[in-house]
């Protein structure tokens, strides 16, 4: 019994360490004082008002949203066929190819962003925004492959063969029978990839420029110049949004299985 109490204690301390800071930041965002003190003096919503009034936050929020959606959808379109071959085909050199497909998740994001900047923006002279979209697509690709593969693996391939034996072409069988049944995997892949893109800093760091910045990059820039609870308020909004997304998707899809 003593030992399991020790386990409980370690786990509890661990959770306080992981989640305590989120509580602290939410409390500090309601401070009425511009200097960050804890516990905060007074209560006000002024920092939330300020977040909404700063135009750069609004424009970069939309930029993050658009980049995230475009990159996630592209990564899914590229990743679903690859996931399908992962699960359904055996061919020589498969291990090496799988390693190649997962490499954008292994190579540091900072290096990916930096290389895209050096090669495409300086040498090939493509717009920064395109570089941002491509960089995000590259790092999301392994996520979509992994999550969709996991859900395809749970889908009995006999069902697909039944469709073919009843007269479907393999392509028709995929759209009529496979896709509808891996929906939850697709949604999980979409959510995980989108959040990854929305939160990304390392890849975006080198792929932003005048007029092109994502929300996390803008937050870092803001922090260099100002030190008031505005970022607390913005962070609190993001934390609450994340909690809502995790709670709803964990119940529906068991998203932690795919991490």
């Amino acid at each position: 019994m003593k030992r399991s109490k020790l386990l409980l204690f370690i786990t509890a301390v661990m959770f306080v360490f992981l989640l305590g800071p989120f509580l602290v930041i939410i409390i500090s965002s309601f401070s009425s004082n511009a200097v960050m003190r804890f516990p905060p003096e007074g209560f006000s919503l002024q920092w939330y008002r300020k977040v909404l009034n700063i135009e750069m936050f609004r424009t970069t929020f939309w930029m993050s949203l658009k980049t995230g959606l475009a990159a996630t959808l592209t990564a899914l379109v590229l990743g679903v066929p690859v996931a399908y071959t992962n699960v359904r085909y055996r061919y020589p050199g498969k291990n090496i190819l799988e390693l190649f497909f997962s490499s954008p998740a292994i190579v540091p994001g900072l290096v990916i962003g930096f290389s895209l900047l050096r090669f495409f923006i300086y040498v090939a002279r493509i717009p920064v925004l395109t570089g941002l979209y491509l960089g995000h697509t590259a790092i999301l690709f392994p996520y979509t492959v992994r999550v969709v593969s996991a859900s395809l693996r749970n889908f009995d391939r006999g069902i697909e063969e039944a469709a073919v034996s009843l007269g479907s072409s393999p392509l028709h069988a995929f759209f009529a029978v496979v896709l509808p049944n891996i929906q939850s995997g697709l949604v999980a892949a979409f959510i995980l990839a989108f959040i990854t893109s929305f939160n990304n800093v390392p890849v975006s760091l080198f792929l932003t420029g005048p007029g092109v910045a994502t929300l996390p990059i803008q937050m870092l820039v803001y922090m260099e110049y100002y030190f008031d609870p505005t970022i607390s308020a913005l962070s609190s909004i993001l934390i609450v949004l994340t909690v809502i997304i995790i709670q709803s998707t964990e119940k529906l899809l068991g998203i932690s299985k795919y991490m």
């Binding site: 020790l6 992981l18 930041i25 590229l78 359904r88 050096r118 922090m223 962070s235 609190s236 998203i255």
Partner: protein, 277 residues
């Protein structure tokens, strides 16, 4: 396997992904790699590497980065193992709640997550406020912009990753195996070290790999909690490129970062349970 007579369809399915990664991922990396070997008058040269590697600041930062990863990883293992074991043993309803709490820090904006530590460790943050008001400190201590601050921030990021990999590894260890060990006379602690740990060893290696390489390449945490005072490889690289406009230096650091991660990533995976048990 022969499937549907379209034996080579899989190539068509793989092609878009392969082409995308070759153009937009591999070729920029190769370009950067080649650039790093370019001499002042063309040709292949190691001069840029010599410059960077002989720079005392780079050496200092490189060693510091490794050192912090070497501190973060064992702590993540020591705290992660008991926590993961505790979570694995819970009923599935409770487990699901705790797992979603574990992934919360991973899914939250890294800027928001790290910013919280400023509120805690800052000059007027919780710790300094409590210690000065209790009279333990006369004036606020410097906690921010230290290696310790970065380590704390990295732990909050990587403990969840360690726990996730360990939980999924331990879930595969059946309760019966553990009960069998207990019934055969193992104590609970003995059972943990002789049965659970060896059987979840692959998960441990994966967790260690992810945490170690992640700690070395993390950017947001050292950028916010270390700033320009306590540089790591990634913040140094950013500084070289975007502040000092020393593209050659940044390129070399980028290559060194890739090599370090690849070596660690593949090296650590060579460990097999048999070598230890």
């Amino acid at each position: 396997m022969n499937r549907f007579h379209f034996k080579n369809t899989f190539i068509l399915l793989l092609l878009p992904g392969i082409i995308f990664l070759i153009i937009f991922f591999l070729s920029p990396l190769i370009f950067v790699l080649m650039e790093s070997f370019k001499g002042a008058e063309g040709g292949i040269s190691f001069i840029r590497y010599r410059e960077v590697l002989s720079d005392p600041q780079f050496r200092f930062v490189f060693i510091r980065t490794l050192k912090m990863a070497l501190i973060v990883t064992p702590i993540a293992v020591l705290v992660g193992y008991p926590s993961a074991y505790f979570i694995t043993k819970l009923s599935s309803a409770k487990k699901s709640i705790l797992m979603s709490l574990v992934i919360l820090p991973l899914m939250t904006s890294p800027v928001a997550r790290t910013y919280a530590w400023i509120v805690i460790l800052g000059k007027y943050g919780i710790i300094n406020q409590s210690l000065t008001s209790l009279g333990i400190l006369r004036e606020p201590a410097r906690l921010m912009y230290t290696e310790g601050a970065i380590i704390v921030g990295l732990l909050q990021l990587f403990l969840p990753i360690m726990i996730l990999t360990l939980v999924s590894a331990m879930e595969n260890v059946q309760d019966e195996v553990e009960e069998a060990a207990l019934s055969l006379g193992s104590g609970k602690a003995g059972c943990f070290f002789r049965v659970i740990v060896p059987l979840s060893f692959d998960g441990l290696i994966l967790g260690v790999t992810l945490v170690f390489t992640g700690s070395i390449t993390a950017y947001v945490t050292p950028a916010i909690l270390g700033g320009a005072k306590v540089l790591t490889l990634s913040t140094l690289m950013r500084q070289e490129a975007l502040v000092l406009m020393n593209w050659e230096g940044a390129t070399v650091i980028a290559v060194i970062m890739i090599l370090t991660t690849l070596v660690l990533y593949n090296g650590l995976r060579l460990f097999k349970p048999r070598t230890l048990v």
